[in-house]
Symmetry: C2
Subunit: 182 residues, 2 copies
DNA sequence: GGGGTCATGTAAACAGTTACATGATTTT
DNA sequence: AAAATCATGTAACTGTTTACATGACCCC
């Protein structure tokens, strides 16, 4: 196998919960990890092929369909632990909102206000989805993984509330910029 | 020119402040926008070549060196405004810390604690750099762009403080997970 | 049998980093 | 004169998305 990839980590991790088809893997990643992770089919299928070839996952034929269901092998579980222990790879920052705001003088306060309003709306929507995620995690009280799920939910909530607070503050500044008379 | 690229937006925006060489462009992006943006030479030079060919930037020979200094043309400034008005492109989420934490049961509370401690340390370092950025922006009191610079600094501060608060909360949960006797 | 969903996979295009090759200019 | 920094550019590689081609299965 080539270099350990982020996609392979996510695929192995998702398969550690239960064996799945590639299609179900995508659905699970979107619905369970969607707030902080994403994978496309174009990544998942080649990754599964590589992992299969490396003996880290194996195919178990499901009775009710001809679709290949993938399961972690013991070597795969070991490899998953090794990948989880590797340092987090930091993505280079690319924040289009802050880039536009930094050069806000070019666009003017009105257009900047629209940008911030949009960011606030998205943060509010995120909070709604996180509240759902929290409720559905709380249903599984007693599940050994539950505290870990709630940590990721809480991270999203803290970030979204920080965005809301910043947006309020910034809208205030923009109002005074547009109308210095106040 | 091809599709409007993020790199071209950043390059045009940076050149709107003052004409620069490609090298100085990189330095400016790292030092001024480094908290929320990044570009590599491998992106900057081809972008400059495309922008030159499209008549959006022109080369002004500097007297003290043979290096090509790039300046926005009027068409370039128009194009910059158009690009700034385009919707922010959202990067698909890829948070390695939260991915590891979600599957925290595989690694155990001790390794997760290390991950969170590391995140807290990085947030603290970020706050230090942001305090410097705030001070250096406050030196330019009265500059028309200053309020916009401070908005981006404030965004970073809110985010970093949210990370700190989440880290404290999460370290607490992890302590109780590792030692349920308390 | 028609429409929806489940399912696998590939090809093309795009975005981006890293490493390298090269040389001019400035500083010590 | 050597070393550091400024400067430009390319090539190879990696990762990723999107669109497409294909078809099985299920229910109405």
């Amino acid at each position: 196998m080539g270099k350990p990839s982020q996609t392979e980590l996510a695929v192995l991790a998702a398969l550690s919960v239960e064996p799945m088809t590639g299609y179900a893997l995508r659905e699970a990643i979107v619905s369970e990890l969607g707030m902080f992770w994403s994978e496309s089919f174009g990544q998942i299928y080649p990754a599964l092929a590589r992992l299969r070839e490396a003996g880290l996952v194996e195919v178990v034929e499901s009775s009710r369909s001809r679709s290949p269901v993938h399961r972690l092998t013991p070597a795969g579980r070991e490899h998953l632990v090794a990948l989880l222990r590797e340092p987090v790879v930091a993505a280079p920052p690319r924040n289009g909102l802050l880039l536009r705001l930094f050069f806000g003088g070019v666009l003017g306060p009105a257009a900047c206000t629209d940008l911030v309003l949009d960011a606030r709306r998205r943060a509010e929507e995120t909070l709604v989805r996180l509240a759902e995620a929290r409720r559905s995690a709380e249903v599984d009280a007693g599940h050994p993984q539950q505290p870990y799920w709630l940590m990721t939910v809480s991270a999203g909530e803290h970030a979204a509330r920080a965005t809301l607070a910043w947006a309020e503050e910034t809208l205030d500044v923009l109002t005074r910029l547009a109308d210095p008379g106040v």
